[in-house]
Symmetry: D3
Subunit: 321 residues, 6 copies
């Protein structure tokens, strides 16, 4: 056959031979053994209290992530040798929300059974997927500690609307999937939570760092303290990022935006620090709604959360048998 | 008390003493006997196959409607003497979609039990609310004929996603709530429906007018034929308008937009003609998604559907005991 | 009557029994004695030099405010017991701008006559409403000190366009409604004011803190100094917030946006600090234009200005006879 | 000096030697005798009942117009030899709306005194400029007939808001600037006008063609009838185009949009037909709000109104002494 | 391995077992013999005179096309049995535009050499790709007739800017790739072309149907006449659709939009009629700019152009050896 | 002639007699001797790897700049006496990108030959114009040092796409136009550059300050060190600002946005500090794409870069013979 030098796959983008992009590392999974980081999408947002298009975030975060370089010039670390599996998305039921949530749980648990050294990066979806995600994670990993970056406690009662994006940590605590003493909430914001829910987390022994704490203490110190506490009491640590922890100017595409939030650079620093710790075995990012974002800014922030997590893991000397 | 001549209710708009607006006729319902037209919202769109903000349409349609004059200069008919009750919205469950649909059914049925001469105008929401709406309507009214303006048959199977916005007429036919012979579909569009579903409606004796029929036959003739047929076989006629029957240039805010659709003026003519008929006892408008619309254009079209329906009723000499 | 458990007022939102929102505290005023905070809208922006939709801000700020919780987790203060009256809007004349401004003055003065312990929160509108607002306030309260957060002096001459959004402090100074020595301008920005107007405020003894001052001195110190000075020379202090004092990235919906502005957190800190002071008896927010904003971000900032003001008042032990 | 072949005026656009654009014909006026068409802007929209950015339309219409070719392929008419003066804009007062309206009147009248053969094309602005424009025109020209394309009568009472964009024809009729028998309203729309105002125009002998008339009679016939009537009773004819006469899908950038309006092609046909008539001596276009338009579509329609008017004038053999 | 029933490929969409979508027919090409329709993208728009993002149209048109059903209810024709190859995109050089154009020519010619029965559907890109596309097509097919739907002649001189989106038919005529007598231009619009270029096409014997012709003659008649003429003088017919032939209200996403254009239904009727003819062997769609479109409306129109072309081919009994 | 007091040039804006705006200083150049600052536009962005509308930035930056006051209240410096020439734009070839780049080079060099004391402010366009700009500058000025604010090294190989916006510093280094030791890159961002390109600049002796450096060292210190080094080794210093050095929240209109970038205030401080230095003889701003910006925020930042540069020059006592 005559060569067709100028015919390429539809929608290809420019290739520079001297640049390795994250998109070059990420491979569609075809069932082989998972030994390291594996992305999985949980595109559910019908469970949200307010209208949300967070179901589109797995797509936009993947796209944003793919375009960045593998090289951290700040740490002179290159991820170019990694292979990252993209496991795909959990399929969601059109009209049965609890069934959709259960699919997240079952899929994560099942994957861990076959691939115990899998390090999941879960792309929500809204915060309701946190309960099934962590439930699956906990059943595979044992006692779990959670470091949650969030403007909100997310411990709403389940009577007034069922298992929504406002309830995941209520479900986790009530079901004893996690112990309140093993939960650290970072970035809780003024006038964005009710007193009864603050009382609830206090009563469960949850550690709460408000934005005032974040402004007045260094992120490194907050993370150091948190890890020191958790490493004694849990088997594994899971990091949950509700993107609305970030200030509305920097993460304009979250459903519940507002001023007075965290700076992205502080979050990135926290995440790379956490990633470095060998007990940190999972990361999730939720509440990014691309349909109300500006130029996928919030998905770009999410991509940098993942990049900083991977940088931390590389610094921490991640190896998988 | 000293008078405060310039203090008015928040968000009031300009009042011209010589203009009666629809907003002046529409009164929030407080439980009294309903004798004529009553608006009711069914703000459900979590049941949609694709992401939809149609849950916001009851609000935007009400707002658009309120701003128009009560006076039809074309027919020299003034609705200024009408009183229209706004019954409010059916409350939707946050995470249980079938429960939400059932609430639509129960609320409509209950209202008819207490207020048999109610003439409902149901504001969706997505097309999934058509099944519970018409089910409630049918239980109150007896044998029902339906004239459906829609680009799609909406007879999808229920196995692949449950009772969604693609299935309402399947549910109505399978449950024998309506008889296929009493269903008229107008505006069905090219390359927007599958052959199996066309076969399905043919097998159920449904009357189908495609956009080709609409382009080549006058709307008046199509409606005349339809009414003549239905008035012999049913007790009451319900008009269902999926706004995506209109061309995308004229109704840009529907989830499933495309070219080749109906002209608004043809729809208005059909609706006022239908409204005139004494057996036509209900109207619904679905699939308007204000979150993707341009300047609420599609809600404005919806408002004119209602206005033309009322004009028809006035022409038809509507009276309620 | 048969109960209709699922029928609710149109456009209702989700209710969580364990959450008190600001919207639960705010009541439409019906003429009773006003003893504490009362919101009043001044929806005027035809007076703006450049095209402005600030007339819509009373609506969007109210909406943003209503959605936030009453609970400050940072100060563990709950406003849940407050009652806040919403007095409504001053009605504006369609074509007579000075008449509209006068209505603001007359309404505020009249309200104070009947309700001397009213603590007004005035929602503009553009900055032109500052002159009639403070004039009414001053006639009720005596010698007034003003702390003005603004990128601009707003002392333009009145010959070149009449009483616009560029002139309010000129009018206040020229009419001796306030004394220059009792005016503090905070956040004045580089390349956003002319030398003659800087000279003008200097000549009137106005205290000016530029953004350079804000960057190099703590907000607490600036406020402390300002209050110490004013508490000796005035009877009452009024806080005026032109939202364009904030950086364009954080308040994108002001007519005159630009870089190099104040951080929202600094403004919130200043406002709660000021609110705490017993002599601070009024707050206004102007120059929020929702028609050019992104996701009502700027109205959300305005809502937090109000929340921080109320928090300050609670900390300060606000009581009304 | 060394040549700088590649340096051109800032913001220049591509030049094709074989294309004459309207922008090539239009010259900034420098006070010389005006003998033919002269553009003049009246950028006033603070007089609008609802928020309007129509003050920006003179700019966007000029820009749209400049980009079109001078050649009508449909009539094989080339305007390439015309010279069109751009007289500039009437300056508007920042805070005195009636003063602004008066400036329109005075400027137009003054220009006619010096330049009696001027053929004005007035670019609004909102419809309130119609009263001063036509008043100036009438004082210069004698008895005036007006053909008004509009969805609305625009005869609101002046008590409820002063001389706004809803009142111009009321003012013209009340002041006897024009006689009701010499006014033709074309495109009046259903549910967009009140009965009292319909009665008012009927009582003044105004000729009203609703959209129903437009749909059922050819535009040529309507125009022929109108001209035949007016040419007997007036000295000069003025054409007023409120762009909201066009359907919202085709003119999305008008403040008061809605479905059921006129097709642009019908308007163009009417305008070129009217332009051909020697008694037609003025054209105005109002109610284009570029701030809510999509891609300046509505300004492009306005540009084509002007182009068709000029084509008509060329067909009619326009000459000026 | 344990089954993972809920894990699916990332970004999958809902599957209804009873619906066949175009996306199910279109297969990524892997080098096998091409026997029927093959899509190919030419994502070039740096060649445009005005800023254009038409390079993104191959992606958005493919996406729009994939979502439509294979079934034409108007003709009761189902394309479900077709296989359509997606050959991918011609890769474009970052900084050498003429090289990019040449790659289009070479790729098309090369493909025809190997696959002489290929029926190309070329997705631009801007109109500059028409010259290399048709040049490649002509070298493979012999004497070519072209039916061009376009608001513009596109015969600009090449001196003033090189081979741009304004010049393709000049290049085709000058290079004698096609004969003026074999070119039919349909939809040429008023005030959108210069007299010299109208003269140019007249001098070359091009058949020109303006929008006036389109409004006054049925599309079927225009197409019939055109085909009758061409079938005598050429070996093969190529259909070129510049989407700006459509009215701006219906195709808002073209770079050069304006009022007074063609209705989509007329275009679809023309295209299916042309598709039916056995000599019609190629189709291209150019000048769709998704970056300025509203909800991919214009790409949806493009998808329907392709669907109607395929329907025509099915009606015409397309077979390939 | 009768005076026409209210007729002004089209699109004029409000004039306040007490305000001098930058637009009052900037004069369209008419060929006279250039002695100080001269603006020149290089509206090229077809050379960009990804789609870019940076060609529109010269227009939007000029517009933003014109609206700001000449007065720096922070430094009590008034630029009101300056005259700034606007030389216009380099004309760009429609289809030959390298020709366009060459025109930038030739025009700048030619201007320097005639006007050696010209202090150019070059408004891109994309970063590809940096190579011809600095090449022209260097040929006029001798050994050049460059301080580049940029998220990226911009030293891509030229084989994979020619002289694009990713290659300018590669071209400058390879052609020995500048020496690596005389290049300082400030603001280089994590995961936005490849290791081979980091190695490349290291191998060429380029000084690199990453965002980590910027966060941990004061901008003043970085600039002081840079200037001290350069003033020994070069004849003249050129400042190049790729606006994507700024965080995406503050400069949302750059093609390659992302989180973790520089704060505008840091950039302004650096620029005014650099402007003060007598050897700094040129400034360019590139990679502002107004077509994807929000309210021209990024052009407003660019305008402040220029203002701070001028302020620095005034502080530095700029005089031209």
């Amino acid at each position: 056959m005559t060569p067709l030098p100028y015919l390429q796959k539809a929608n290809s983008s420019f290739i520079d031979r001297d640049v390795t992009k994250m998109g070059d590392l990420i491979k569609e999974w075809s069932g082989e053994k998972i030994r390291g980081v594996g992305l999985i999408g949980a595109p559910l947002s019908k469970s949200s209290i307010s209208h949300s298009g967070a179901c589109f975030a797995p797509g936009t975060i993947r796209k944003a992530l793919s375009g960045y370089s593998t090289y951290s010039i700040e740490d002179t670390i290159d991820l170019a040798k990694w292979i990252i599996q993209d496991l795909g998305d959990v399929s969601m039921h059109v009209t049965n929300i609890e069934e959709s949530q259960n699919r997240v749980y079952e899929t994560i648990l099942q994957l861990f059974k076959e691939h115990p050294s899998w390090l999941p990066i879960v792309l929500g979806g809204d915060n309701s997927i946190t309960y099934p995600s962590i439930k699956g994670y906990q059943e595979a990993k044992g006692e779990v500690g959670v470091i949650q970056f969030d403007a909100h406690h997310d411990v709403r009662n389940l009577e007034d609307g069922g298992p929504s994006n406002g309830t995941p940590f209520r479900s986790l605590l009530e079901s004893k999937t996690i112990n309140g003493a093993n939960l650290v909430q970072v970035g809780i914001r003024d006038f964005s939570n009710s007193k009864p829910y603050h009382d609830y987390v206090n009563n469960h022994g949850v550690t709460v760092y408000t934005m005032k704490d974040v402004r007045h203490t260094s992120m490194k110190e907050l993370m150091e303290t948190s890890l020191k506490k958790l490493e004694k009491s849990v088997d594994s640590i899971y990091v949950s990022v509700d993107m609305d922890v970030i200030d509305q100017a920097q993460a304009p595409g979250c459903p519940a935006i507002g001023p007075g939030g965290m700076d992205t650079v502080d979050l990135f620093e926290a995440i790379s620090y956490l990633g470095e710790h060998p007990m940190v075995g999972g990361l999730e990012i939720v509440e990014v709604d691309p349909t109300v974002d500006f130029r996928d800014m919030t998905s770009r922030v999410a991509a940098h959360v993942i990049l900083n997590f991977l940088k931390g893991k590389q610094r921490g000397g991640l190896t998988f048998d």
